[in-house]
């Protein structure tokens, strides 16, 4: 690994006082000045420290996915500023500071599992031997080693999503952006994937920003839950939900239920307003 090119450049680790993500008065308007103008986000201030697991939750149309895509520099802000690891969002994208996981696994059908994981490494110019070794390590991490040579169509939805996570993590991004990654999975698979994600997060110390509309998912996974409300999309509450080390038992813990209630109330609050 050490001889492979570092995706984050030679400067190495980011100084601890630099936020992983800093949003300052961020607003987004789609189709400004036209009849189909949509004010998607307004006045978003948020600072996410390195190593946090932050969940964005809110009803459909509250702009949580848009916010994630602004951080990813897949779309431009209308107002305010986004900085990732102390750089502009687009600079961070070009430096491959983050990696994104979508609701659909989006694996390439024509590549086997191992080569799907190698995709970002190919784009970064890794040598074939390093790529193969890394992909094997990642398959180990998501516990799919025996499926390395299978094609995506031969995997279940949950397995595909694990491959997508392995692909996203393959180049050690400092930041993982996840847009409802488990939204299309059944409840059992979903809880299993949540446990896996927490394990990976603990092992890798990556900062995670996670979009969901499941309250229980948000509370179980995150250290902080950012509650958003729609029209225009804004942050209505930020709730600390750090339960320390989590396990299956955490799902039955009173503090977990207290947090679920707190988030639910925050979500209700903006329906009342």
């Amino acid at each position: 690994m050490s001889d492979a090119p570092d995706a984050n450049g030679p400067d190495g680790d980011i100084a601890p006082d630099v936020a992983a993500v800093e949003l300052d008065g961020v607003g987004k308007v789609f189709n400004p000045g036209r009849s189909n103008e949509v004010n998607a986000l307004t006045g978003i201030d948020l600072r996410i420290a390195s190593g946090e697991f932050v969940t964005l939750i809110g009803p459909s149309g509250c702009g949580k996915s848009t916010l994630l895509r602004l951080i990813a520099a897949l779309t431009d802000v209308t107002d305010g500023s986004v900085s990732v690891n102390g750089k502009t969002a687009d600079r961070a994208r070009l430096d491959r500071d983050y990696s994104m996981v979508f609701q659909r696994a989006g694996l390439f059908d024509w590549r086997n599992v191992s080569r799907n994981i190698e995709l970002p490494l190919e784009l970064m110019g890794w040598k074939a031997a390093d790529r193969r070794q890394r992909s094997a390590e990642m398959l180990d991490l998501v516990k799919l080693s025996e499926f390395a040579r299978h094609h995506p169509a031969e995997l279940s939805g949950g397995m595909q999503q694990r491959v997508a996570i392995a692909r996203a993590m393959s180049f050690d991004p400092k930041l993982l952006l996840m847009d409802e990654p488990f939204g299309a999975l059944d409840e059992m698979t979903r809880e299993h994937m949540q446990n896996e994600l927490l394990r990976i997060w603990t092992e890798t110390q990556t900062t995670v920003i996670f979009v969901t509309h499941s309250i229980s998912e948000a509370v179980f996974l995150s250290t902080r839950v950012v509650v958003m409300s729609p029209r225009p999309g804004r942050i209505s509450a930020v709730i600390d939900t750090d339960l320390g080390e989590r396990s299956e038992a955490t799902r039955d813990h009173p503090e977990y239920f207290a947090n679920v209630t707190a988030v639910r109330n925050a979500l209700r609050g903006d329906h009342a307003s």
Binding site: L74, F108, L119, A153
Partner: protein
Amino acid sequence: MLAVFVCLLGLAYTAYKAFGTGIDDAQSGWLVIGSFLPETTDLKMPPVLDILAGIFEEPRGTGDAFWTIVASEAAFTLREAAVGFAIGVVVGLGIAIALTTSGRLERALVPHVIASQTIPLIAIAPIIVIWGRKSFDFLPFEWQDWMSVSIIATYLTFFPVTINGLRGLQSPRPENLELMDSYAAPWGQTLWRLRLPASLPYLFAAFKIAATASVVGAIVGEISAGVKGGLGRRVLLEAQRYTTGPERLYVAVLGAAALGIFVFVVISTVEYALVGRKGREAVR
């Protein structure tokens, strides 16, 4: 499968011929139907056995079985078609890739690409041959008439490649394109690692159409441009001397059909080797 089909076709042909001949024989005023059907005389429809015999017959003054003559002419036509196909794929895919770069360019140019196909091939074929003889002096090699026929074939082949290629290149889901963007992949990498592989099933569908069209283009090109040496010329020749050997025209047409099937099978084989991943079962 093909053999069964050919046999059935031969049987149907013979049966129809027997039926038609029966009507002709019985024509005594009350069976008017016979006069509406195409004639089924041996001149109009040579018996299947005559056609089969024609395949192996040696035409006077040649010393070769007729099928070997047709086969070598088919090879000549195949060369024209293959060159036309290759140029058509390069040009067609090039246009498709260029159109993928901009929605505005696509909207502006696609109607013109479609309009290009409304010009009758027979009308432009002689022009291309004349250009070839007069205007291509700047080329480092001597221009030959069969190359003009290849250009005519190209005119038919680039079109399906452009249209299907465009659809294929645009087939990746938005999240796959965003994935490449999130990796800061340059345009060329997205083309090579996502758009092109995703378009292979579309392209092979186009290649099958284009390959058979290239044979049609080559034969029609030979006929309308008067190029000697290929199947088009053979069909023309046997049509002119039809009365002295109708079965030879049928053999020439069979040769053309066999060539079309051949190129189709070649493309299908390549497709199977490259993208033939059917029969995988999902683990669910």
